[in-house]
């Protein structure tokens, strides 16, 4: 094989990394370079330095150390049976690329993942070494996300947590059966255990140590995971059930949903079609309902016939239409929890309503000024001088809201 240039390697190993949805650089501890005299900072809020035409944010240099891999997961472009071109970065090359990009303000940091070569420990060891050199030799304080290989040793994971802002382990598919079928060499029970161990480690390190009374740094950005949507037959209800379990059990910061995307040289066991992007979007909305809107997982789809989220309308509106008995809600009296369940009201708007109504009673047009679409909202609220009357229970309500939202979009 001829020797590849850096540019060729970068092309292969970024192409190989793009199926990982996460590019987040937010939620870590604050740090900067004023004391170290190095380069890099994280200030809580993530920064998207560019956007690809797929609408996804480019925040991190997201690459694989190598796309050689001993696993044969049929949904993955890098599986061992795939004919994709292979490449391997040296540790120095990744460190230099990260620093060169960061100094020019192209990126917030590095998201390093890898195919597994020879053994999990050997691969994980190289990834940790990249992070160590960035932190200690380059005095780099930017964001580092390391994908953790579930089978690697506890010692390596501990070091990874010392240097990285975030660690992640992919659950791959929503059910163990799915993993067994599509990723026959992966062991779902090991993935669970690794997530459990990460949570324990994070909780242990969050306690001040006995001697120094200081908290040790360990992946301050927490852990996250990703599952592929649409490669197996799991319903949305099943997917959300798995997410709720993961959030509760392992305190994940995020579960990423990645619509299964056709890959070059795909395995014949997979659906060859365009990725279900709208389904992915609705799953994220439902995920938000669980995390920020006080919905429990079972109630999001309770009463739906097939356990699938409605693709035409958002999950909160769909829920409200199924639970009209809980509406209308009085915008001037209802508590925060109740307001959060009104379609069209986001967390920020609810805060504004609570603040404003302390000083004046709100009319429909007042609410209209601070929210995006009053059409969606109107049938579900009572305001000063406004009551929806029979509108809330009207048979054609769904169609009417859909149409008025479309008209607004065309405007």
């Amino acid at each position: 094989m001829s020797v590849l240039t850096i540019r060729e390697k970068l092309a292969i190993l970024s192409d190989a990394a793009k199926y990982d949805a996460s590019c987040a650089s937010s939620g870590s501890a604050k740090k900067d370079s004023l004391k170290s005299g190095g380069v890099g900072s994280t200030e809580g809020m993530g920064i998207c330095h560019s956007y690809a035409p797929d609408g996804r944010c480019i925040s991190l240099l997201k690459i694989l150390l190598t796309n050689f891999c001993i696993y044969d997961c049929s949904y993955c472009i890098n599986r061992s049976s795939s004919n994709v071109r292979r490449a391997r970065f040296g540790i120095d090359e990744v460190v230099k690329l990260t620093m060169d990009f960061y100094r020019r303000n192209y990126i917030e940091g590095l998201f390093l993942s890898s195919g597994v070569i020879r053994s999990p420990d050997e691969t994980m060891g190289e990834m940790v070494e990249v992070a160590r050199r960035l932190r200690l030799e380059e005095k780099f304080s930017g964001y580092i996300h390391l994908k953790t290989i579930p089978e690697s040793s506890a010692d390596l994971v501990e070091q990874a947590g010392l240097y990285a802002d975030r660690l992640s382990i992919n659950i791959e598919l929503p059910t163990d059966e799915g993993v067994k079928k599509l990723a026959p060499e992966k062991r779902p029970e090991t993935i669970r255990l690794s997530m459990a161990n990460l949570r324990r480690k994070m909780e242990e390190k969050a306690e001040p140590t006995l001697r120094t009374k200081k908290r040790e740094r360990f992946a301050p950005g927490g852990q996250s995971t990703q599952m592929i949507v649409g490669a197996d037959k799991t319903s949305d209800d099943g997917i959300l059930h798995t997410s709720a379990r993961l959030y509760g059990s392992y305190h994940l910061r995020r579960v990423y949903y990645s619509a299964f995307s056709p890959i070059p040289d795909a395995s014949s066991s997979l659906p060859l079609q365009k990725p279900p992007l709208m389904r992915e979007h609705r799953l994220y909305q439902a995920d938000w309902l669980m995390r920020f809107y006080g919905f429990s997982q079972p109630e999001i789809l309770a009463g739906s016939s097939d356990g699938m989220l409605d693709l035409a309308i958002d999950p909160k509106l769909a829920w409200a239409l199924r639970n009209r008995g809980q509406f209308p809600v009085d915008i001037n009296r209802a508590d925060r929890e109740t307001l959060l369940r009104v379609p069209g009201l986001g967390t920020k708007v609810v805060t504004k309503i609570l603040q404003t109504r302390r000083h004046r009673r709100m009319r429909l047009e007042d609410v209209g000024r601070i929210c995006h679409s009053i059409a969606k909202l109107r049938p579900f609220i009572i305001a000063e001088g406004w009551s929806p009357g029979a509108l809330t229970d009207k048979a054609g309500l769904r169609g009417q809201i859909e149409r008025s939202c479309e008209q607004l979009a065309l405007f």
């Binding site: 092309a11 044969d72 049976s81 020019r104 303000n105 509760g248 305190h251 056709p262 302390r358």
Partner: protein, 489 residues
């Protein structure tokens, strides 16, 4: 804004620059305290020595202007907006605030909304500056510098310079914009005059790598041009080295995606068979062991790892099996593992386990000499945000898990069993019994095993009242002392 000579306002304020917030604040204070109405003031900016003096009234003796605490923060941000009417607008807000101190809390008021919109625009522009500044490197070694050309919508260079200092402390850099520049020499930040695009370097070799990355991280099967442009509007494109690739990527996306879908799966890569043979020697379809053949507790524990006798394994992390010596004289049976036990894979390590340990110790029972296990070996729970709320296992789950409990008893052959709580009693006796009523009693099973009945230690944890809690702890301690006596008979 009217030219100054046509301005018929009673008072004319001359600010030093577009970002002269201190000047505006001083003028606004003097004018407001002298009851000068907003329509009587003209606001202007003039830089340098030809700036006329503002003729402003003095602050009346002892007068104080009180504004809500957050007003200054809000105005400081909105002040960076490019709207030429902002000086007058912010003064009007100040004027209204004297009669309506809660004005800023009324989100539906038009002025409050305008202020918010201005702040939002400034914050967004700042955020985009953090994101879209692109440095180009010039020189090497001692001479190495990084220079960027950026065109903000608002007057935000001063406001954002510190961000770049915190981030690029170890570099020497300059950010040039049409109205101002910021320069960091490694020690000191200097704000200077505006510049032209031609003052910045016109290329950097690393951009070729960045463009390679941009083109390859894009997934043509997920084309969403609108989403991209919403966050990265075209006005920024001219200064982004990667943006010139976008039209071609979009044009080729449909074909690239179709090609991916159309390309027939090929035969496995040549190295695949070798990799499979080396790393995954054909796993013979190992039968899931059911523990029937286990001769020791550790073999049984191994067999229970893959237990699928009831659906509880689905949501739990792992099977939490019993723990203790193979020849223990007593087996303590709890209900099911909790959150901590589920993570650690060991029984009685969570809060209830700690209470249990402490009381056993007080009673003079050595935990290392007893065997502890649970009636149900997987954690049953309802997720509630970041917590898991314990759910009680049902009779079917208890029954399914008796498979393991029975084998544990067969192997350990204890003289005594202690049922901690109702679920354990149900598992050991095969029927539900009133635990609080029968507490402290010993029931002999048909097979001769003596079962001591008591409560589960988590019951003590749930008692709120301190005295009640202590009393319950004491009662449990007495139970454990009785268990110790029973152990030695």
């Amino acid at each position: 804004m009217l030219p100054a000579e046509l301005d018929l306002a009673r008072y004319t304020v001359w600010l030093e620059s577009q970002t002269d917030f201190a000047g505006w604040r001083d003028a606004a204070r003097r004018l407001a305290l002298n009851e000068v109405r907003p329509e009587d003031i003209g606001w202007h900016v003039a830089a340098g020595s030809d700036r006329p003096q503002s003729d402003l009234p003095d602050v009346p003796e002892g007068a104080q202007l009180v504004v809500p605490r957050d007003f200054i923060d809000h105005t400081e941000t909105a002040f960076c907006h490019c709207d030429p009417g902002r000086f007058a607008f912010l003064y009007r807000l100040l004027w209204r605030l004297r009669a309506e101190p809660k004005l800023l809390a009324i989100a539906s008021d038009p002025d409050t909304r305008r202020l918010e919109a201005m702040e939002k625009a400034v914050r967004r522009d700042s955020h985009k500056m953090h994101a879209f500044v692109r440095f180009r490197k010039i020189g090497d070694g001692e001479e190495e510098r990084y220079v960027a050309w950026f065109e903000p919508d608002h007057f935000i260079v001063e406001r954002n310079a510190d961000f770049f200092v915190r981030r690029f402390t170890g570099m020497r850099w300059t950010i040039l914009t049409p109205y101002a520049s910021a320069d960091w020499d490694g020690e000191r930040l200097a704000i200077g005059p505006g510049a032209a695009k031609t003052d910045a370097p016109d290329q950097d070799d690393t951009e070729a790598l960045w463009r390679t990355y941009f083109a390859n991280i894009f997934n043509p099967a997920r084309l969403k041009v609108k989403a991209m442009q919403k966050e990265m509007p075209k006005k920024y494109w001219r200064n982004l080295p990667e943006a010139s690739l976008i039209p071609d990527l979009i044009a080729g996306a449909d074909k690239a995606a179709k090609d991916m879908i159309a390309r027939m799966p090929t035969t496995p890569a040549p190295h695949h068979a070798k990799v499979q043979a080396k790393h995954w020697p054909k796993h013979q379809p190992a039968e899931t062991p059911d523990g029937d053949a286990a001769h020791t507790i550790s073999e049984l524990r191994e067999a229970a790892k893959g237990c699928r006798r009831c659906p509880l394994w689905r949501d739990a992390t792992q099977t939490v099996f019993g723990e203790g010596p193979d020849n223990a004289k007593v087996i303590f049976v709890g209900e099911q593992p909790g959150d901590q036990e589920d993570l650690a894979g060991k029984p009685f390590v969570g809060p209830a386990g700690k209470v249990f340990d402490a009381i056993l110790d007080d009673a003079g029972v050595d935990r290392l000499e007893v065997y502890v296990t649970n009636a149900v070996k997987h954690f049953k729970f309802e997720p509630r945000g970041k917590r898991r709320i314990h759910s009680k296992p049902n009779a079917g789950e208890v029954q399914a898990c008796r498979w393991w409990i029975d084998r544990e008893f067969e192997l350990v052959k204890p003289e005594l069993a202690v049922a901690l709580g109702a679920t354990a009693a149900l598992s050991l006796l095969g029927k539900a019994i009133p635990v609080t009523k029968m507490r402290g009693q010993v029931i002999e099973r048909e097979d001769g095993l003596r079962v001591f009945i008591t409560i589960h230690p988590s019951f003590i944890l749930r008692i709120r009242d301190h005295a009640d809690k202590e009393a319950e702890r004491e009662r449990f301690l007495q139970d454990m002392k009785q268990v110790r006596k029973l152990m030695s008979t």
